[in-house]
């Protein structure tokens, strides 16, 4: 495999060049890491703040990706090119995610600048970790091989472990980091075992070939009675468990509340959105690689239904467990789990539709399911980051992250209060904010898939029910901010304008994505195009 990789890279100059072009954003980010570390080595960071270098690096990466994006949007939206010896894939789907990640990287850097975590001393370390994790996530988004899947996940995870424990002096932080590491190691082990089972039986790591190879192996219709198929199914299950760890799906979520509570709010915000985005990209690719072949359709429908079941459990568990939390970060971590559940419903719907006998006629709907997921992620980026940002900003004044810290906030800082209100209402999914449309798209996809498998009705019902459940704890936040009096002993929150501006920008984006049909339609059409791109390679 490596031999071939090196041959591919060296042998054909053309493909090496195009590959490097596709990979340029990751290279930029990696280069920026080196530059940041070098700058500190030579003490240049006293004159040039590290965050400026980081911002510049990520902005250039975003700009480069935007170039690739416009090129694909204008020319060939449904082209998917494998490069670097079929290890990675360049298509609109991958570019969409990488753009998304680099934009999110910029937003996170901006937030860290505003909140002052990390300090000047630690900044190069922190940004190096942040960039490293982002590169890993970008590789997850474009992975085409199970090997790359593993590498991407690990490359995203390892820096994350360190970032969680970045507040070195704090005991909970260290404890959270340790738990995260051990749990992550366990999950990685399971996943690696799964990968070896799958590649061992099927003889390939190329994700686009999985379904057809499985059909060959199964000798007719794939059933679990066939020991080889059974082994592959177990392997798939294990790979999914590894991804579920990154997505913090129940029952692989245990690390999440502890890690988020221990980590700083900025890191928690980053992890909750970015690592999820990468993992979902990977999940979609992996699931599509297993779908679309007649022989495996029945088995994969079962997997789709299983994903739906997991989604139900995850959303319900996340929402219910959030009730009694008083720590805002912990509360939002459960909310993150619940939202992962909602998003997983879209994947389940996609999987069920893709493996039905009407798949050919459902192209539009499958596309819409993937598009809904992407739209959800985009909105989620703004609203969840907004919520975490406000927690971090308030923390800087009150040194407190419990729900008491925001009590009566509206009287002291209306901008933050309204921003939090917008984010929370969007998280609930109340129109006219972006969260409503995101949920609407996902539920519409689930409804469509329910015509194929009855269980999806159950999924839809739980999706709706969970929205109601979530009201209880989300409104607790709103009530604390707007209705309750600010305790006399609470520290005052006064805001410099830049921080208010940051929150307002996020809140305005959340509102725009719901309020203005042009924006909504623009983003959803882009998301649909990206979904279309990834669907183009279904079934090898």
């Amino acid at each position: 495999m490596f031999e071939q990789l090196i041959q591919d890279l060296a042998g054909d100059n053309g493909s090496l060049y195009t590959g490097l072009k596709y990979f340029s954003a990751e290279l930029w980010l990696s280069g920026t890491i080196v530059v940041m570390l070098l700058l500190r080595l030579f003490s240049v960071d006293r004159w040039i703040p590290t965050f400026a270098v980081a911002l510049a690096g990520s902005a250039i990466a975003l700009w480069g990706l935007f170039g690739q994006f416009t090129e694909l949007m204008t020319a060939n939206t449904d082209v998917s090119i494998a490069f670097f010896g079929d290890m990675l894939r360049q298509d609109l789907f991958s570019v969409f995610f990488r753009m998304f990640l680099s934009l999110f990287l910029i937003l996170t850097i901006a937030l860290t600048v505003l909140t002052g975590i990390p300090d000047n001393e630690d900044a190069p370390d922190f940004y190096a970790l942040l960039f490293g994790a982002t590169v890993g996530m970008m590789m997850m988004a474009s992975a085409n091989n199970l090997l790359m899947l593993f590498l991407g996940v690990e490359m995203a995870s390892v820096p994350s472990y360190v970032m969680v424990g970045f507040l070195k002096g704090r005991k909970p932080s260290s404890e959270a980091a340790l738990k995260y590491v051990v749990y992550g190691a366990g999950a990685a082990g399971v996943m690696l075992y799964g990968i070896s089972l799958v590649t061992g039986v099927l003889g390939t790591g190329d994700m686009t070939l999985l379904a057809s190879r499985l059909a060959l192996v199964s000798d007719g219709v794939a059933g679990l009675g066939d020991p080889e198929v059974c082994v592959v199914a177990l392997g798939i299950m294990m790979v999914l468990a590894g991804l579920a760890f990154k997505l913090s799906l129940v029952p692989f979520h245990f690390w999440c509340p502890d890690a988020f509570e221990g980590a700083s709010a900025e890191v928690a915000g980053f992890l909750s959105v970015a690592s999820k985005a990468g993992a979902f990209a990977l999940l979609v690719r992996f699931c599509l690689g297993l779908s679309g072949v007649e022989a495996t359709a029945e088995l994969m429908t079962a997997f789709g239904v299983a994903l739906g079941a997991v989604a139900i459990v995850t959303a319900t568990f996340g929402n219910l467990a959030a009730y009694t939390q008083n720590n805002l970060k912990r509360l939002l971590s459960y909310s993150t789990i619940a939202h992962a559940g909602y998003m997983l419903m879209a994947v389940a719907a996609m999987m069920v539709m893709q493996n039905s006998d009407q798949a050919a006629g459902l192209g539009q709907e499958i596309n819409a399911a993937v598009g809904g997921l992407l739209y959800y992620l985009a909105v989620y980026m703004f609203m969840n980051l907004g919520a975490f940002a406000i927690i971090a900003l308030v923390r800087n004044y009150t040194f407190d992250e419990s729900i008491d810290s925001i009590r009566g906030l509206s009287s002291q800082s209306p901008a933050l209060a309204v921003g939090m209100g917008v984010c929370v209402f969007s998280l609930i999914g109340i129109p006219p904010f972006g969260g409503f449309f995101a949920k609407l798209m996902v539920f519409a996809a689930v409804l469509k898939s329910a015509e194929i498998h009855w269980f999806m009705y159950v999924v839809l019902a739980f999706g709706g029910l969970n929205t109601v459940f979530s009201l209880f704890y989300y409104l607790k936040i709103v009530k604390a901010i707007f209705i309750e009096e600010r305790p006399a002993e609470a520290r005052a929150v006064t805001l410099p304008s830049m921080e208010g501006l940051y929150v307002v920008v996020l809140a305005v984006m959340v509102t725009l994505l719901g309020f203005f049909p042009a924006v909504t339609e623009g983003l959803s059409s882009i998301a649909n195009a990206a979904g279309n791109a990834v669907l183009s390679v279904v079934g090898g």
Binding site: L178, K179, V182, Y183, G186, A187, V190, G223, L224, G225, D226, A233, L234, M237, M238, L240, A241, A244, F245, P251, F252, F254, W255, P257, D258, E298, L299, A302, F303, V305, A306, A309, V310, F317, L320, A321, A322, Y323, T324, F469, F472
Partner: protein, 857 residues
């Protein structure tokens, strides 16, 4: 030819008073000494005066556009001259032959007995126009009215030029088509209906513009003197009392008065300029509100505010009919515009007037089968819609005409809506002069004239009878009234009746002619009465006056001019008072009409009789006030002539009142007014069915002109003579006469009991119905509502129980149960790492078991 610059000038004249209003009402108070500043008044005078100048400029432009004075063949001069020539011929024939000839065949229809004297009278009367055409008179007239309208000045001048020019133009009907219509501003388009501000300018518009602006300027000036006692911070109103019997003290409202006057001028000019009937309606209401504000200017006086309400409400009655008329028009014609909308000379959208066509007999062209009136295009071809001819039922055309006329009845205080006008005299006298005699009340007549092409015979007959009843009734009441302003008010109603009668008997030109002459002499008389009232310290009762001639000579003499004018006295050398000409024209039209339709003889005799009554009560007024010995010595001692600012307007208006109709129907004013008269007037209308009306053409009217003139003059002179004998010389004891005729006197004094009649017909039933409604409301509706409320409360109580127990219980149960589940879930999150890792394995195994069990192998 384009009406653009023409309409611009008129629009300036129209909008300036609005500017004046805005400035006066919003900034009138911002001066160093607001209550004593005359700035607002001067501003108002400036606006309306400039408006007059703009009107004159517009008029000269119009003249040059239509070629009115286009060298020697200009239509206006030529027409005047043509008339002169005709008349001279005719009169010569009369005088020479003293016999019936082909020209004057109609003279003898049933009136042959008067033939001789009448012919002579006619001769002597009508010799004047030919004299007037002489160059000698023209400069004299110019001097008499030095700053008169350009009409007369240019008229006088060109008269001389055109004197010996031949009369190629037989009857002037090749005259101008000087109507200009266009859109000022489009308000909105709703489906096929466009609402817009239009203008419609023809000779009548221009005459009205100059008349209104000139009179308004004079009255503004006069009002500066008359209202000067408002220039104080503490005005004591002697006619208004507070609850404890003291006089009301209030700040002066000088600037506000002029603001209202300006607003009125704006509205009135807008009404005249309006190019569609809906716009007329809008400004119609606007003058109505101005009238309301001005009548109720002394708002502390109960009588004044009542009078304002009465005026406003009675006008609404008429306007209701107006609205019905508008609806009919809109439904069938689909437009409100008078004139056609033209683009580059092509008609793009027809107006009302061109959508009905008259045939050779002067009747509307009708559909052969249904008998409904056809709507036609500009060439008289029927308009079609969906293959069928567009028509309007004849009855609905009658309804539309009567509806519009109903509005005119209210505005012009015609029977049966006449009672508001005398009460309106509660307003300050300049208001009475401007609004309630010269302009606004004449708007009804103006609209009847403007809308004339749409009226059918039945409507015209109604108009004639309404006018006839009104003129007689009001004149009889005027005989007994003693309040100087009320006499003039009834006289106004009566004269408006004359105008309506004139229009109704097909004397279109005559009616509008009288409108203009009346405006001048009635405004003059009102201002004179205002001067008297001012000089007598707000005493209005004539029995307390007398002998004021020496105290206030200018007022007395100008008043005499007005009285002679309204009485219709002729004078030597053709210098007849204006009322002579115009009333003559109306009576002649009425006579021609009665000749053609003998059953309607009252339409001639009542006006004739009333001509005498008019002279009687007007001279009664003059003798009462200015002649004889003072009846109230105290009043007489303190009486004084008014200051120059009040007498100058009198001196300006007096020549107009006297000579504005100079030349009569051959004079410039009449020819101008009729410059754009409806085309079917000339030949009259022949009855198509037995019992139908025949409306006399110009020829017929012309034939009886001298006969009617003589009769009217005799009536006027006898009335005046009687007044002199009774009030000037005093040959009879008036009190004894009153006692002998107490029944009649009482009947008249109570205004024919109209107020009582309306009181018992409308007010009392309305009160009864209102009382019943109030009772019904209280006894029935309130109970029903209370019942509902009680039921609502009971339901609400049950609802509350349900809400608290069931709904809340369910929600709480849900909340509690989910919360407890949440709490129990917390237990799972133990924080023990070993356990977490265990769960990974357990999770994979569980899921695999799930897939394995659910998926059939």
């Amino acid at each position: 030819m384009s009406g653009d610059s023409l309409s611009k000038w008129l629009m300036i004249a129209w909008l300036l008073p609005l500017l004046g209003f805005v400035v006066e009402i919003f900034f009138g108070y911002y001066s160093r000494n607001p209550r004593r500043s005359k700035a607002a008044a001067w501003f108002a005078v400036g606006c309306i005066g400039t408006g007059f100048i703009c009107s004159v400029i517009a008029f000269t432009q119009w003249c040059s556009m239509t070629g009115a004075f286009d060298g020697e063949s200009g239509w206006l001069a030529a027409r005047v001259h043509a008339h002169d020539a005709d008349d001279n011929d005719a009169d010569d024939n009369d005088a020479d032959d003293n016999d019936a000839d082909d020209n004057d065949a109609e003279h003898h229809d049933g009136h042959s007995g008067h033939d001789d004297g009448e012919a002579k009278g006619h001769d002597s009367d009508d010799s004047s126009p030919s004299d007037a055409a002489g160059a000698a008179e023209a400069p004299a007239e110019e001097e008499a009215a030095s700053d008169e309208a350009a009409v007369l000045r240019e008229g006088g001048h060109l008269l001389a030029v055109a004197e010996d020019e031949g009369d190629d133009h037989s009857h002037g009907h090749d005259g101008p088509k000087g109507e200009f219509s266009g859109v000022i501003y489009t308000l909105g388009t709703f489906g096929g209906i466009t609402l817009s501000m239009d203008y419609y300018i023809d000779s009548l518009t221009l005459v009205m513009f100059m008349m209104v602006t000139l009179i308004a300027t004079c009255i503004h000036l006069f009002a500066m003197g008359y209202m000067s006692d408002e220039l104080t911070d503490d005005y004591v109103d002697h006619f208004a009392h507070t609850a404890d019997g003291k006089h009301v003290h209030r700040p002066g409202r000088f600037y506000r008065f002029f603001a209202f006057l300006s607003l009125f001028c704006f509205a009135m000019l807008g009404l005249v300029l309006a190019g569609n009937i809906f716009q007329v309606f809008v400004f119609w209401e606007l003058v109505g509100i101005c009238s309301f504000l001005l009548i109720g200017f002394y708002t502390e006086r109960k009588t004044a505010s009542n009078a304002a309400n009465k005026a406003f409400i009675m006008n609404r009655v008429g306007d209701f009919g107006f609205l019905i008329g508008l609806m009919v028009l809109l439904t069938y014609f689909g437009t409100f515009r008078f004139g056609d909308t033209k683009v580059d000379g092509e008609v793009v959208e027809q107006g009302l007037f061109s959508m009905v066509t008259r045939d050779a007999t002067g009747n509307f062209v009708r559909d052969d089968i249904t008998g409904e009136v056809l709507l036609t295009d500009t060439h008289g071809h029927a308009l079609t819609e969906g293959g069928e001819n567009r028509t309007i039922p004849y009855m609905l055309l009658v309804v539309a005409g009567l509806g519009v006329f109903a509005g005119c009845v209210g505005k012009s205080a015609q029977f049966p809506l006449q009672t508001w006008l005398p009460d309106a005299m509660e307003g300050p006298t300049p208001v009475s002069a401007l609004v309630h005699s010269a302009t606004m009340v004449a708007a009804g007549v103006y609209l009847t004239g403007r809308f004339f092409p749409m009226f059918v015979q039945e409507v015209l007959l109604t108009i004639a009878y309404i006018g006839c009843i009104t003129l007689f009734m009001a004149a009889t009441i005027a005989v007994v009234v003693t309040d100087i302003k009320k006499v003039l008010a009834y006289s106004t109603i009566s004269q408006l009746g004359y105008m309506m009668l004139g229009l109704g008997v097909f004397g279109w030109g005559a009616g509008l002619f009288h409108l203009v002459t009346h405006a001048f002499f009635k405004s003059l008389m009102f201002l004179c009465s205002g001067s008297v009232i001012h000089g007598c310290h707000h005493e209005q009762e004539m029995p307390k006056m007398g002998g004021l001639l020496k105290k206030m000579p200018i007022t007395a003499i100008t008043m005499l001019v007005g009285v002679c004018a309204i009485a219709g006295f002729p004078l030597f050398l053709g210098l007849h008072f204006s009322g002579f000409h115009s009333k003559d024209a109306i009576v002649a039209s009425a006579l021609a009409f009665v000749n053609a339709n003998p059953t309607h003889f009252l339409l001639f005799f009542l006006p004739l009789l009333t001509a005498g009554i008019t002279a009687f009560y007007m001279f009664r007024l003059w003798f009462y006030t200015f002649w004889g010995k003072p009846r109230d010595q105290h009043l007489h001692d303190h009486a004084h002539e008014s200051p120059w600012i009040m007498t100058v307007p009198l001196l300006i208006l007096a020549p107009f009142a006297w000579l504005c109709a100079f030349g009569g129907e051959q004079g410039y004013l009449y020819v101008l007014i009729t410059g754009n008269d409806p085309s079917h007037l000339h030949d009259g209308v022949q009855a198509v069915t037995t019992g139908g009306l025949t409306l006399p053409g110009h020829e017929a009217v012309h034939a009886v002109h001298s006969q009617a003139g003589w009769l009217a003059m005799i009536a006027a002179f006898s009335g005046a003579l009687l007044a002199y004998l009774l009030y000037g010389v005093g040959i009879v004891d008036l009190d004894r006469m009153k006692a002998q005729l107490s029944k009649v006197h009482g009947f008249l004094l109570n205004k024919w009991h109209f107020d009582e009649l309306y009181d018992s017909l409308f007010m009392k039933p309305a009160h009864k119905v209102a009382a019943f409604c109030a009772w019904f409301d209280k006894a029935v509706f309130d109970n029903i509502v209370h019942g509902f409320a009680k039921v609502g409360i009971v339901i609400a109580q049950w609802d509350r129980v349900f809400d608290e127990k069931v709904v809340d219980g369910f929600v709480n149960l849900l909340g509690d149960s989910t919360k407890s589940i949440g709490n129990s879930l917390k237990v799972v999150q133990t924080g023990r790492l070993r356990q977490y890792v265990m769960f990974i394995v357990l999770g994979v195994v569980t899921l695999f078991a799930f897939v394995f069990t659910t998926f059939p192998s």
